[in-house]
Amino acid sequence: MSNVRRPRFAIGTTMAFFALLYAPIVVVVLFSFNGQKSLSVFKGVSLRWYEAFLNDQELLQSLGMSLRVSLVAMVGSIVLGVALALGLVRTKGALGTFAGLVMLVPLVTPEIVTGVASMMLFKGFGIPLSTGTVMIAEVTFSISYVTVILRSRVAALNPELEEAAMDLGATRWQALRLVTLPALLPAILASAVLIFALVFDDFVLAYFTTGVTPQPLSVRIYSAIRFGVQPTINAVGTLMLLGSIALIALALAIPRFFGRRGGLSILSGE
């Protein structure tokens, strides 16, 4: 490869791309350590905004809610999404094809439509908006992602594996639990991490389905900005960034840990 001439403009384009992509993020990280309240002048390094965040009960409450919602959405959508993926792959004929198409609709629907629709649904049934409604909406929204990732893995599974388990005396349920699910585990864990990150970062759906207090972190930040940007937000943003990087690293590491492909090949580009 070292003999291949690399055209200069390609290097330039690549650098410009990364500069544009990361400049805003760098600004946020940098100013989270600002000693002053200014958002344009950097003066002195300090951790005062991190301290301010840790003393802000409302923000902490929102962080707690976002973590709870992400956890519930992760577990809920994994349970339902894996079941749906298994069902879709094994249901032959028109019914299976139809269900497969319906499953894809949430993926292509603009999120704002899903958000408004969810809100109207809850209102229509007289369900007050709360942490619970955010959880329901996020689970519903996340199932499609899990199913899309898992479906190809299920389809690639050797059908003889479950037959072998039953041949050796396992019931249908035991074959699923002892053979099929362990074979899918890398993909399940990787999509769990992805869903956690997606839901934690989600704003639109959370905005339309949350109650007044507490609010998810993303909604809380948005509300705060309407009253003027506080440097505390930079600290929160930096922490969220760190958390996201850790999650992505985890998602990439899972398949390697299992020593086989099957995780998020979308992310690793393999």
């Binding site: 050797n158 003889e160 039953m166 041949d167 050796l168 005396g169 396992a170 074979a183």
Partner: protein
């Protein structure tokens, strides 16, 4: 042990409208090494899957050791399967793979440890116990699949193309090994293959299937030496198949070649029949008295190591193959060349009339 290990009674299996297996009756004796042989789509795999319980017959019944298991699921049948893909569990060690069946049946830990150990020794994988299937070679994985099935001491062991994934040399070696293991454990083996060589080498009895029916069932020698149909003759090894008209002990082929054959009471004069002569049954010299003799012209000489095949025209458009062993006594100068006229001969019983 009055019951056969396996009894199929009038078993039919249809997928949609097309029957994959038609009205199959089959008895397999205790301790037999039985082969279901045929081309793809002949119904052999469907038959094996019905024995394993992965497919339910459309009609008919299946008995294992005298018990009707027609509608029993796989986990309630005393049979185990070696799958074509081996279907080893990659998330478990070799030891846990082999112990899987015993654990499902709730055997005591001490017994599991002992029986898994015995099996690992039988298939010579004692030092691989803690490895994962993925790290093993094809031949080793094949042995794990075998051990995982045999450890349960099933009444019948089913093998679906067990050696298909192995290279030729390893396949030859495993053929012998499988046969030895079967003799050692004394369990009835039923295996499916499309490889006639494999069936002849390993099986005590072979059922040749075609189009969902058994065309012929018998010992390897019977099936090879005395094929009952044109299909069996052509599927088992190579055969010179010639079409002609039967008339009182003589068959007239194209080009007015007349061949005396054994009398057949079931063939009317003037009916069209097939003749089958194996290439290795054709002599080109040192004839015996009483042989059928014809003349032909050598068209092609194909040398392939231990044997030489001659393609000989008996008449224009009527070509047969004759096979000669290149034994120590055969000399290079004695080989026939193209264009030479030769005399061919075979014993009357080696030329079969197939209706």
């Amino acid at each position: 042990m009055a019951h056969p290990a396996v009894r199929l009674t009038a078993v039919t299996k249809s997928f949609g409208t097309a029957p994959a297996v038609r009205n199959l009756d089959l008895d397999i004796a205790q301790g037999e090494f039985f082969a279901l042989l045929g081309p793809s789509g002949c119904g052999k795999t469907t038959t094996l899957r019905m024995l394993g319980g992965f497919t339910t017959p459309t009609s008919g019944s299946i008995h294992l050791d005298g018990v009707d298991v027609t509608n029993h699921p796989p986990n309630r049948r005393d049979v185990n399967t070696v799958f074509q893909s081996y279907a080893l569990f990659d998330h478990l060690t070799i030891w846990d793979n082999i112990a899987f069946g015993l654990k499902r049946r709730g055997r005591p830990t001490a017994e599991i440890r002992e029986r898994v150990g015995e099996m690992l020794d039988l298939v010579q994988l004692g030092d691989m116990a803690t490895r994962r299937p993925r790290t093993l070679s094809g031949g080793q994985r094949q042995r794990v699949a075998l051990a995982r099935a045999l450890v349960n001491r099933p009444k019948v062991l089913l093998l679906d193309e067990p050696l298909a994934a192995l290279d030729l040399k390893l396949r030859r070696q495993m053929q012998v090994e499988l046969k030895q293991i079967q003799r050692e454990v004394g369990i009835t083996f039923v295996f499916v293959t499309h490889d006639q060589d494999e069936a002849l080498t390993m099986a005590d009895r072979v059922a040749v299937m075609n189009g969902g029916v058994v065309e012929q069932c018998g010992a390897p020698e019977d099936v090879y030496e005395r094929p009952a149909s044109r299909f069996v003759a052509s599927f088992m090894g190579t055969s010179n198949l010639m079409t002609g008209v039967y008339s009182g002990g003589t068959v007239t082929l194209d080009g007015d070649v007349r061949l005396p054959v054994a009398q057949r009471t079931d063939c009317a004069d003037g009916s069209t029949v097939s003749l089958s002569v194996r290439p290795e049954k054709i002599w080109l010299s040192d004839f015996e008295p009483g042989m059928v003799r014809v003349t032909g012209v050598i068209r092609e000489t194909v040398y392939s190591g231990p044997t030489t095949t001659y393609l000989i025209d008996l008449a224009p458009g009527l070509r047969v193959a004759a096979l000669e062993q290149n034994t120590a006594r055969a000399r290079r100068e004695d080989r026939w060349e193209g264009g030479e006229e030769v005399e061919l001969g075979w014993r009357p019983q080696d030329c079969l009339v197939l209706a």
